[in-house]
């Protein structure tokens, strides 16, 4: 179902596997859907100068971020023949191994979902004002920059 109302994409803390399972289950009544594609961003325990990332503390310019999420959603619906699209991003603390980004697209046909998911993820990385403080296991930190 297309949803063109701006909404709040932020979820406090990690995105749980139960939340993801629930989102998938909700789409099983939509029997015109033939293909789903899901992207999950997971916090890596990167080692930087012998210190390990234990968590990322996410902050954002939330109003601007939600507007950008909305614009990305609209652009994706224009470019691709999608039945549904959902974007969720964590705000606050997410531990290494936990999920911080959940992008979910659905379409009648599989050919649409592959370019759509990549487009959305790349747009999020480039255009949404979200900031990540990488907290090391010794409680020191550095600021994450997307590559």
């Amino acid at each position: 179902m297309k949803n063109h109302k701006p909404k709040n994409a932020f979820r406090k803390g990690a995105i749980t596997t139960e939340f993801i399972a629930n989102s998938i289950a909700k789409h099983q009544v939509k029997t015109s859907i033939g293909a789903h594609n899901i992207f999950l961003g997971q916090v890596r325990a990167d080692e930087i100068n012998a210190k390990k990332v234990a968590a990322i503390d996410y902050t954002a310019h939330e109003d601007m971020a939600n507007l950008k999420f909305h614009e990305i959603r609209e652009a994706a619906f224009l470019r691709f023949d999608l039945s549904c699209m959902h974007i969720y991003h964590s705000i606050g603390n997410v531990n290494a191994g936990e999920i911080c980004l959940f992008v979910f697209v659905s379409s009648k046909r599989r050919k649409e979902v592959f370019p759509a998911i990549e487009f959305i993820v790349e747009e999020i990385k480039a255009k949404v004002p979200i900031f990540g403080k990488e907290i090391f296991n010794d409680q020191s930190h550095q600021w994450k920059v997307n590559s």
């Binding site: 949404v128 004002p129 990540g132 600021w143 997307n146």
Partner: protein, 77 residues
């Protein structure tokens, strides 16, 4: 006029705050940056973009909002 400057991410460590009101008499984003560079000497070395009304601006953009946001590199996802 009084405008609110919001800082995000590592910029909050440069300024020691997440937002502040400043008395501002210029007209463009460039003018705002000049004021802030005066106040925070190390800000000039930082990589950031400026937004108002939830859109990114260039140095030449006219100030039309009473709230300006300074955004360091994005790290979503």
């Amino acid at each position: 006029m009084m405008i609110t400057i919001r800082y995000f991410g590592l910029l909050t460590e440069v300024t020691g705050c997440t937002s502040e009101k400043i008395n501002f008499s210029g007209t463009t984003i460039f003018d705002v940056k000049e004021v802030l560079f005066q106040k925070y000497k190390t800000l000039k070395n930082k990589d950031f973009q400026v937004a108002q009304n939830n859109e990114l601006n260039t140095d030449k953009t006219k100030i039309t909002s009473t709230e300006i946001a300074l955004l360091p590199p994005f790290a979503g996802g």
